[in-house]
């Protein structure tokens, strides 16, 4: 055990001195996560929708609608510019200056058959859809109050009674509402998603620095020297695996702390995150060790591991939701990446250690199987 610790300490020191190792372990995943999160937007939408509104009515109903828009603008969900001329509004939408324009016709409050016109830019389907929905919701609200009042008043048609009923109906809350429970339903937000995806993707490169150096030591002759020393043969291999695990775990730990502190990622319950991260490190070490045991040179190991890391990352859904391709859906569960991201998803809704146990178990399974294969193969390698 003493020799294992001394050897692992030596390897860790070498790695920390090696700039490219630190780059791959921490700097690159963090920077890419930051770039991705910035590009793909930290909020629900990458930018506020740009709307214009033309009020041809200038009555209280139109004002109420503009007020709805203004309240959204205050929350930075939309930007609203007021345009006097409907033709100008259409032109702005046509040119892409704005995503959509609302034209509130004269008589919107009085003429029952009036229509709010929504002019959307064809290349901003989301913004246009949202605009249409905003208008529809407003209209639905108005209509439902009027319908309620008219239906309650019954015959004969008494405008004053209807008006009084309408006032009461307006205070009657609609019984059904929509709540966005994405955060509670185990769906990672963008920042956490990219932080986690990049962390686990690069983990498979980071752990290489431990096991693969066994090949370098063999080529460089230091393995022979170590084996001629009073060091148990198993100690060398154990030290290499330990180096991988420690280096991978440090990399994940730094990334988790850094993305939480500087990117606003929220990983979830610390204990559960630690369990997932630990299991992921073990799985990555096992998979990498198998590759190292098959390769003859360090370069060969490096390039095979790169191919494997890319492939597993892709199948595990690191770059995009692979499960949209039904044929590949099952494959995502054949990767530690898939389990890691899935496990973190469980935590997004406030889950605890218990919820991530299946993912932890699956990754430990990967680690056990690949680790066993690697140890059997590598035990031969530490004997010249």
């Amino acid at each position: 055990m003493r020799a294992v610790l001394i050897l692992a300490g030596k390897d860790l020191r070498l790695r920390l001195r090696d700039r490219s190792a630190v780059l791959i372990a921490v700097v690159i995943p963090f920077t890419l996560a930051l770039i991705f999160a910035t590009v793909f937007g930290g909020n629900e939408t990458p930018r506020p929708f740009a709307y214009a509104v033309t009020d041809l009515d200038r009555g209280p109903v139109a004002a109420a609608f503009v007020d709805v828009l203004d309240r959204l603008a205050e929350r930075d969900i939309v930007t609203v510019r007021r345009v006097a001329d409907p033709a100008e509004a259409a032109e702005l939408a046509d040119g892409g200056t704005i995503d959509a324009a609302f034209v509130l016709p004269a008589g919107i409050g009085t003429d029952g058959t009036a229509a709010i016109e929504v002019i959307g830019n064809v290349n901003a389907p989301t913004a246009a859809d949202v605009a249409r929905s905003l208008a529809a919701a407003f209209v639905d609200d108005l209509t439902s109050v009027r319908v309620a009042a008219v239906a309650a008043a019954g015959e004969p048609h008494d405008p004053r009674r209807i008006a009084a009923l309408a006032e009461r109906a307006a205070r009657f809350t609609p019984p059904v509402s929509v709540v966005d429970v994405s955060a509670q339903r185990r769906i990672l937000d963008t920042r956490t998603w990219f932080a986690a995806a990049m962390a686990v993707f690069f983990l498979f490169f980071t752990v290489q620095f431990g096991v693969s150096s066994l090949i370098e030591e063999r080529a460089g002759g230091t393995l022979g020297r170590l084996l001629a020393m009073p060091v148990p043969p198993g100690a060398v291999l154990t030290a290499k695996l330990l180096t991988s695990v420690l280096f991978g775990a440090s990399s994940l730990a730094v990334l988790i702390v850094a993305t939480t502190a500087f990117m606003g990622a929220s990983w979830g319950a610390p204990l559960a995150v630690a369990a997932l991260a630990g299991a992921a490190v073990l799985a990555a070490t096992g998979v990498t060790a198998v590759v190292a045991s098959l390769a003859r040179t360090a370069e060969q190991a490096g390039s095979w591991q790169a191919v494997l890391a890319m492939l597993l990352g892709m199948l595990g859904g690191v770059f995009f939701p692979i499960e949209r391709v039904p044929a590949l859906k099952a494959l995502s569960w054949a990767t530690p990446h898939g389990w890691f991201l899935g496990g973190l998803g469980e935590l997004a809704g406030g889950g605890s250690l218990r919820e991530v146990l299946p993912a932890v178990a699956a990754m430990c399974g990967f680690a056990a199987v690949t680790g066993a294969v690697a140890v059997v193969r590598l035990r031969k390698a530490v004997r010249p």
Binding site: S20, F36, V39, V139, V150, V179, V307, F320, P321
Partner: protein
């Protein structure tokens, strides 16, 4: 001629490595296929609706969602599988109608319909549509409840009255239309193919710079100089080698995606020129990296960072239209990908050389500048160059 010989050696070294071949030719195509299938072009957002407890009112809501006509595909889903399916990306969003929906409404209680979506614009879009549909239903139910309360009748009678009035009452409506020129190029693989082309060309060129770093470290560069070969020939050869690999990859991807996935690249000559211009930038960037990095490991690490980072910033993973104006400016300042993406988008809309002239000019200018800087760096390492160079440091170690 000597330059060609050097380039040929370079090319052979790159192509001899089987892992390289996988990265250069197989992987990009695979990604185009998978990405195109998964998120390509005109994919219809998929929404799952799960009903915890069936009832006339709940079923009516589901029917209304299914009939929303906003270009969103809605299908029934099991309750337990809904959130995981969204979390894993199988669905873009999910709507859960809770147990006791009917009963609660009849009792006059407020009910919440749960909505889950992956973060992103698709989720936002689906969310707004779902809110509109539910809002419409909620309006009808409110009116029905109000009438029932006012007249002391059961809810169903109230709703009947409301429906009767709603059908006869002149009502405010929403008319929607879209304007502008449709930028969507149509094929589900089109955008994916051009963006993956850019991503991989750049990554390949940068990681190929590892070979140059090795050449420098092994002292092969010095040996070449010991032969009667001019510095210019060596640099041209090294640059040409980089460029050939990149252009081979680009040409292969364009032809293969056109044949396999029916990708329309637009005017073939203009598209070819654009690819060539971008390949020059990528090759020059690779040359610069190869001249700067001290170790191959460092070169490949930074290659991954720049290759993926600039690609993301340049709009190869999310259309530039979705960027804020500020980020769009940033993209065009730091990322050559942004200009190439603009160019391919223009060609996809049926544009020709005239429409991509600016993009071509910018890319070529960047390529020239990067090459010039790289050549200066490499020249300095050659004998007669200044000070302790990376070359002599590398040679001293061996």
């Amino acid at each position: 001629m000597k330059a060609l010989a050097i380039a040929a050696v370079d090319l052979r070294r790159t192509l001899r490595d089987r892992t390289n071949l996988v990265f250069v030719f197989v992987f990009p195509l695979l990604l185009v296929f998978v990405l195109g299938t998964a998120v390509g072009g005109v994919a219809v957002p998929r929404v799952g609706v799960a009903v915890a407890e069936s009832g006339p009112l709940a079923d009516r809501l589901v029917a209304a969602l299914a009939a929303q006509g906003a270009g969103i595909s809605v299908r029934r889903h099991s309750v337990g599988e809904l959130a995981p399916a969204v979390a894993h990306g199988e669905l873009d969003a999910g709507v859960l109608v809770p147990a006791g929906y009917d009963a609660a409404i009849r009792a006059g209680h407020a009910v919440t319909v749960e909505f889950v979506a992956r973060p992103g614009t698709v989720g936002t879009r689906v969310g707004s549509v779902v809110r509109a549909v539910v809002g419409h239903e909620a309006g009808r139910l409110r009116a029905g409840l109000f009438v029932a309360a006012e007249r002391g009748v059961p809810l169903d009678d109230g709703l009947r009255g409301v429906d009767g009035v709603a059908a006869s009452l002149p009502r405010l409506s929403v008319s929607a239309r879209t304007v502008g020129t449709d930028l969507d190029t149509g094929g589900r693989f089109d955008t994916t193919a051009s963006t993956q082309l850019l991503l991989f060309l750049f990554v390949t060129a940068l990681t190929a710079s590892v070979a140059l770093v090795e050449t420098r470290r092994l002292g092969v560069l010095r040996r070449m100089l010991a032969t009667p070969t001019s510095t210019a020939a060596i640099l041209t050869g090294e640059g040409l080698g980089r460029l050939t690999v990149t252009v081979l990859q680009g040409g292969f991807m364009m032809v293969a995606t056109a044949l396999l996935f029916d990708v329309r690249w637009g005017d073939p000559f203009a598209a070819g020129a654009l690819m060539l211009a971008f390949a020059s930038v990528a090759g020059a960037a690779g040359l610069l990296m190869g001249s700067l990095a001290r170790t191959p490991q460092l070169a490949s690490a930074i290659g991954i960072l720049l290759g993926l980072g600039l690609a993301a910033l340049g709009g190869t993973m999310m259309p530039l239209e979705f960027f804020t104006p500020f980020m769009r400016t940033v993209a065009h300042v730091v990322s050559p990908h942004a200009w190439a993406v603009d160019g391919f988008t223009a060609l996809g809309r049926g544009g020709g050389f005239g429409d991509i002239a600016v993009d071509l000019a910018v890319l070529l200018a960047v390529a020239v500048v990067l090459t010039a800087v790289a050549c200066r760096r490499l020249r300095r390492e050659l004998p007669g160059g200044t000070s302790r160079s990376a070359l002599t440091r590398g040679a001293g170690r061996s």
